[in-house]
Symmetry: C2
Subunit: 458 residues, 2 copies
């Protein structure tokens, strides 16, 4: 009989610390800047985040203990299985051994709850009773509603109007977990009212929703409300490293050394960082691993945008972050991988790319859906549209291994299932999707935005 398909860990083998890559990254990290162009201090973030999370955001310690209560909540679905993709290998006829870390087993269906439970916990410890956030397609909003329900906290999610109307199931998930989900722009914030006065029929945007969620947090009179972000920031990447730390133990159990190729899709960067950062530590110390961050061709942040200081949101409410950015005014085309439609990128992931530790790759959506379909019909699990980008890249690498006749070990992050995103598959099967190519004017537009940055790094 063949070896096990799944490589599992017991709860006792679950990592007890997160890995903070800041302690090991080469080069100098560029700090966030305030409106005055000077590095911001922790106190400037205090109205938005609790101090214990701000401390994590700026920490340079290599290992940070995971609190007992967070471990308990994570144990609802963790440790997550690592799976050998025997059937996919067979379909491709590749000598590569393909493994995937299955993050779709969480109650919300993706890796997002890894940081949601941690953020909710730290806020609760700090005396916070309510969290606000924004959500696009709904993956992050439902993860935070889930986490808040476990801790008896209130959760208010500003969901981009067009998604709110088109994806009612995500809203229902949040409500089932006791969260409140309202369409953005709303009449509940000044930012929302301003937009509605000007554009009463706007479909909304992530930028507007962020502005509303931050405003709702900082203007709350009880002082017991804060804002929560599902990607981009350092503490979010930190919480996600449990993915890669588990995967290392599992590869060892499978009798493998380090992977030759490591792949994750990247929107804001959190699932990619979660799997890759613990392995990049080895790469920094000499290991040869091809670490690939996959993004959509239609939102080519890492492959085509400059590394510069830019805002995380359209309304410029966030500090200036040093990152790859298509410009905070850039609106990505409406591809189905909503989680990858972001103009910016985690500063840590951007830095790792700049230092040559990560190799970015951009793939068009038709190739990704084709890959998602092959995976669904061989390995049996329907991937989220975001995840299909990692699968498409994995298939490229597996075919390359076949051409080269090499027994490579490929590990990718199966960041989420696609059960809430089946409309994209239907459109693909009906031939209604096409690859969206950016025109020169799109590039010119965001380049113009970046020219106005206060202190471009590159």
């Amino acid at each position: 009989m063949r070896k096990n398909k799944k490589i599992i860990l017991s709860e006792k083998e679950m990592p007890k610390q997160w890995y903070n890559i800041v302690a090991d990254l080469p080069g100098t990290l560029n700090p966030p800047l305030g409106p005055d162009g000077k590095p911001i201090g922790p106190e400037m973030l205090a109205p938005v985040f609790p101090m214990n999370l701000i401390e994590q955001e700026v920490s340079t310690e290599r290992w940070i203990d995971i609190p007992e209560k967070v471990m308990e909540m994570l144990s609802i679905w963790r440790p997550a299985p690592m799976v050998r993709a025997y059937a996919l290998e067979e379909a491709l006829g590749t000598p590569a051994r393909i493994y995937y870390k299955n993050e779709s087993v969480s109650p919300a269906g993706s890796h997002k709850p890894n940081t949601a439970v941690a953020q909710a916990y730290y806020n609760r410890e700090f005396g916070i009773r309510k969290l606000t956030t924004e959500t696009g397609a709904g993956q992050w909003g439902s993860a935070l509603a889930f986490a808040c329900s476990l801790l008896g906290m209130e959760c208010k999610v500003f969901m981009v109007r067009v998604s709110f109307d088109q994806k009612p199931f995500r809203k229902m998930m949040m409500q089932t977990w006791g969260g409140t989900c309202i369409a953005s722009p709303s009449n509940e914030t000044q930012a929302g009212r301003d937009v509605l006065a000007k554009y009463p029929d706007t479909p909304g945007s992530l930028g507007i929703a962020i502005s509303e969620a931050v405003e709702a947090a900082v203007t709350d009179e009880t002082g017991q409300t804060r804002y929560s972000l599902g990607s981009v920031l350092n503490h979010v990447m930190l919480h996600q490293t449990i993915i890669g730390l588990e995967a290392k133990k599992q590869l060892e159990k499978a009798g493998e050394k380090l992977p030759d190729v490591l792949i994750g899709c990247a929107g804001g960067g959190s699932n990619f960082a979660g799997l890759s950062f613990p392995f990049i530590q080895d790469k920094i110390h000499g290991a040869e691993i091809d670490v690939i961050a996959v993004e959509p061709k239609s939102c080519p942040t890492l492959t085509q945008a400059p590394f510069a200081y830019d805002h995380g949101d359209i309304a410029k409410m966030t500090p200036l972050l040093a990152m790859n950015s298509l410009g905070h005014g850039f609106i990505p085309p409406p591809i189905h991988a909503g989680g990858l439609r972001y103009h910016g990128m985690s500063p840590l992931v951007s830095h790792a790319v700049k230092e040559g530790l990560v190799r970015p790759e951009a793939i068009h959506q038709l190739e990704c859906y084709e890959a998602g379909l092959l995976f669904s019909r061989t390995e049996g699990i329907i991937p989220a549209p975001e995840t299909t980008h990692a699968i498409a890249s994995t298939i490229r690498q597996a075919k390359l291994a076949k051409e080269e006749g090499k027994e490579k070990v490929i590990l990718f992050n199966f960041s989420g299932h696609g059960l809430m995103d089946l409309v994209g598959y239907e459109k693909f099967l009906n031939g209604e999707l096409k690859d969206i190519k950016l025109a020169t004017k799109d590039f010119e537009q965001f380049t113009a935005v970046l020219k106005n940055h206060p202190s471009p790094v590159v």
Copy 2:
């Protein structure tokens, strides 16, 4: 630190045989009858099912080997975790220790793939290239499409028209797995055309869909098409026993003896039988276990219907089965737990109830949704509407244990997640649902139907 939340098994610990309760059940089982009122022979089922499955259907052997290839497919998600519901216990303040077997981890989201992969395998071994089936809410249709995709078989699902229109996501799941899903009644079968000619605007029914699926299988000229059923029959119950066999090993790992109370919801009976039959073997040999089958008050098959011979479908295409039945003409009210809306019941489960081995219980849907909400907000996983019936009964038992001050062990089957059924939760939260009580005329109607049975057993 508390004990582990999840009790997991390695793939090597996965049971290698199914348990056939027919070998141990007391009393005499009543055989299926043909249209002439005489027991049917295996050859009469040959146009509908492959002979290897018919042999399983009538087998009296206690243990039946699970084929290697089926084990491989099951290992995509099995062994399934058993979970200690610490947070639910705490919320209830009960001294009971509550465990649940989490069958929602399969790619289709429920226990249904346990038998889908086995049935697809045996058909494939017998040279069959295509399976037909019917589906109501879509849970079974998507499970069979999933199984067929793994084996490269065609799958055609006749989906009840009203669900086809209202639940497009289930259809999309089937299509993503390469299956064909068409609304029933359709123009593709004589049964469908007859209904459409008479009632062009009919919403369809499970009874019509069964007739279409059976007709499509038996009239296929290649001879390589058969029909597949997702519940009720003996071989389906057999395939599901892997649930209970795993649970036994897991309870032992958790340091528990046999459970005091064992609970599952029952529509056609397959998830209930899957968990309970291996424990009922112990009960037959003297163990004291309160085994509870939970059904909706609005479809009270086990609690209020007689045990008698009846057809499995409205069109009377199936043999007469000895079972509890509300009458094959009974149309259950439109509650959201679509999987529990069936007029009949597995003959084996019905027999176990008759012999006093199983205690049926009926619960109204509001109590079930309330239970599902509490579970979602404590244990974190949103249950399917069917599964909330098992949870509601579990909560009743946990409260009873509190009143009695007893440290009971309660084990229930978490048969599926509710991510594809969130509309029911939204309606519940909006106060739009009510308990549906059957009127006397409903009873009179099905009693009349049962009077016409050829050979009532009770």
